[in-house]
């Protein structure tokens, strides 16, 4: 039995696990697929949008810088156009013009100078002492001489301070002159670096050789591989803005960058930002989605487990009830076949006993004849014959009890005279196999019949009496069976003065398979079957027990038939009538 239960438990656990797994898989796969697809699409469109936005920003910034440079050129051109050569060579005029430009554009213009084609600065206005400076070997001078307008890269030059030069060329009396202005690196740098997004998004400018045209960022060294990437990116970004991605120097974070060309494709504007910052919104959304997904999954798992646990335990309960029903049917069947056997035996015994008794009677008859009257042992013979007669009567009583018991093995619902039933069950209970046990009945003769199956009521009484006998087996004692009419119920009390039931077991005695008997002696179904029968009849059973004080079972059988509504109606009618 215990093994069987263990097997069932294992089976139900396995079943629960399998069902939960199946449902989890079935619900997770679509959930994960849908959320995966949605998230993927979302990231794609978010990427597109973010890059489009950055492109726009970088493009505009490049335009801003370009227009800044062009404006400076225009300033110089205007200056050149507004003055003739003599004026320009006059340093006081140049000073005044510089002052005007500085007034208008702040510190953008650092100085002004006019350089002849030999590379000598003929006039100069500014804070550095660069009068008559020699530029003939300077790279920028050579390049500027070949073009009407020129903007140099950033370089240190004679003053040893990073700066760059804007120059405009003029031909005067067959000779070239350059009007040049130094643009403040600080001013340009602040304009160029004006674009900052978040904590890690910033811009810088490189020339085609990879030299910084803005203040180098703290970790941007020309030796870095990433740095070369930027240059290559710049080469690729001929018309459009190039977008790339690389790993930072520490090799930890991914960095996105956008590169755009400016200053007639001489310079590369690079915008770079840590990817995790640029995509922080997306990452946050992904985290939120993951959390929601996780919570959802957790809920599904928990709900499934609870649900299936309930379903399985319900089925287990149903199984158990079915098993009990089957047991009950088997027990009833057993009782019925015992009944049939008893009936058959009783009938077969009746005939020979009848012959015996009649033969004894015949001897009695014959003894009355005179020849036997003088017999020496006449009295002894008569006594023996009487004994045969009385034992024959005893046999008859026994067979009648058996027959009466057998008649009541019919499971159909009928009236049961509870008092008679109790007497019979007491008569057939195996009290004789125990010594020192007495069974006393206190039956209320006015108790009306109850409705139920004879067999089942018999079984209830047999079970209770046998349990009481079992309890008294060791030390003996008494069993009192009382019937009483109480509140429209027939109350049957079966009470013993045995060792009682410990409190811990008291709540469980009606549970199926609960038994305190040694293995093989009881299946733990007796009381649960009693409980089932009494409940089916619409009655109740209670137990009261104290350790060493004995046990009392109170059974309340309803007086009317609880099953057929017809009877119920009838009884209602009857009670109304009696009320009148």
């Amino acid at each position: 039995m215990a093994q069987d239960r263990e097997f069932k438990n294992r089976y139900s656990r396995k079943l629960t696990r399998n069902m939960v797994l199946i449902v989890i898989v079935v619900s997770f796969v679509p959930m994960l697929m849908v959320s995966g697809i949605v998230l993927h699409q979302f990231s794609i469109s978010y990427n597109e949008k973010l890059y489009a936005h950055l492109k726009e920003v970088v493009h505009r910034h490049a335009q801003d810088i370009d227009s800044f440079l062009n404006e400076r050129l225009n300033n110089l051109q205007f200056l050149l156009d507004s003055c003739d050569n003599e004026n320009l060579l006059d340093e006081s005029v140049l000073q005044e013009k510089l002052f005007q430009l500085q007034q208008k554009y702040g510190g953008v213009f650092e100085d002004l100078g006019v350089i002849n084609e030999a590379g000598v600065q003929e006039s100069y206005a500014g804070r550095f002492k660069l009068e008559k400076a020699e530029y003939s070997d300077a790279k920028w001078f050579k390049e500027a001489l070949g073009k009407p307008y020129y903007i140099s890269d950033v370089f240190l030059g004679l003053r040893s301070i990073p700066h760059f030069i804007v120059s405009v060329k003029r031909i005067y009396q067959g000779r070239y002159f350059l009007l040049r202005a130094t643009i403040s690196f600080e001013a340009f740098n602040s304009l160029a670096e004006n674009l900052r997004i978040g904590k890690t998004g910033f811009v810088f400018i490189l020339n085609k050789e990879g030299a910084f045209q803005t203040k180098p960022h703290y970790d941007m060294l020309p030796s870095n591989k990433s740095y070369l990437d930027f240059i290559n990116a710049g080469k690729k970004a001929t018309h459009e803005i190039y977008i790339g991605e690389l790993t930072d120097n520490a090799g930890r974070d991914r960095i996105i960058y956008l590169a755009a060309l400016l200053k007639n494709e001489d310079w590369i504007l690079v915008y770079q930002q840590e990817k995790k910052e640029a995509f922080s919104d997306l990452i946050r959304t992904q985290i939120v989605a993951a959390v929601i997904l996780f919570i959802g999954a957790l809920l599904i798992v928990i709900m499934n487990s609870i649900l299936f646990h309930k379903v399985i335990s319900h089925f287990t309960e149903v199984d158990r009830e079915n098993e009990m029903m089957n047991r009950q049917i088997i027990e009833t069947g057993k009782l019925a076949s015992v009944g049939r056997l008893a009936a058959g035996t009783a009938h077969e015994i009746n005939n020979p006993v009848a012959i015996m008794v009649q033969e004894a009677g015949w001897i009695e008859d014959l003894l009355k004849e005179e020849e036997f009257q003088k017999g020496k042992n006449l009295q002894e013979i008569e006594r023996a014959l009487k004994q045969i007669n009385s034992q024959g009567k005893r046999c008859k009583e026994i067979t009648h009890k058996l027959l009466s018991f057998a008649r009541k093995t019919d499971p159909k619902i009928q009236t049961v005279r509870i008092n008679e039933m109790i007497e019979e069950v007491v008569a057939i209970s195996d009290k004789t196999s125990y010594t020192g046990i007495s069974i006393n009945t206190y039956l209320d003769k006015t108790a009306p019949p109850i409705y139920g199956s004879q067999t089942e009521v018999q079984q209830v009484l047999l079970n209770l009496i046998n349990n009481a006998l079992y309890a008294l087996k060791k030390n003996g004692g008494k069993i009192d069976i009382t019937t009483r009419l109480k509140n429209h119920h027939v109350l049957v009390v079966v009470e013993d003065n045995g060792p009682g039931i410990p409190k811990a077991n008291l709540d469980r005695i009606f549970d199926p398979f609960f038994t305190t008997k040694p293995v093989g002696e009881g299946n733990g179904l007796g009381l649960s079957i009693c409980f089932g029968i009494i409940q089916k009849m619409g009655g109740e059973i209670d137990v009261h027990s104290t350790v060493d004080g004995g046990t009392r079972f109170d059974i309340r059988f309803p007086m009317k038939n609880p099953i057929t509504s017809k009877t119920e109606n009838l009884s209602v009618k009857t009670s109304t009538n009696s009320g009148e």
Partner: protein
Amino acid sequence: MRENENANKKNIKLLLVDDEKRFVEVLFKRLNKRNIDVTTAYSGAEGIQALRKVDFDVAILDLKMEDMDGLEVLKIFKKMYAKMEVIILTGHESEQTTREGMKYGAFAYISKPCDFEELICTISKAISD
């Protein structure tokens, strides 16, 4: 007193139907000793045959016989000769058969093993009615 009773029962013609041969024999002897004129039959058919020849005052009938059911025999007896009272004497009594037996006109129902004096008493009651 018993002698008087026996004298009164002179000429009682009784038909005893039972397939239990030993029982029939001993009962025959005992009834004869009480001056009852007993005819025995060991089956339902024999009983019916016997009733064709003689109008018995009373019959003792077993219910469970090999050839016929006692209740069937009872019905036939009552059809053939309604004046004859039938006492059912059986080891196979049950509430149902008792009820049916009474319905078909049995006079009394006695279960085996029976007290002989009770049987005699029932016979005399059957006759006097």
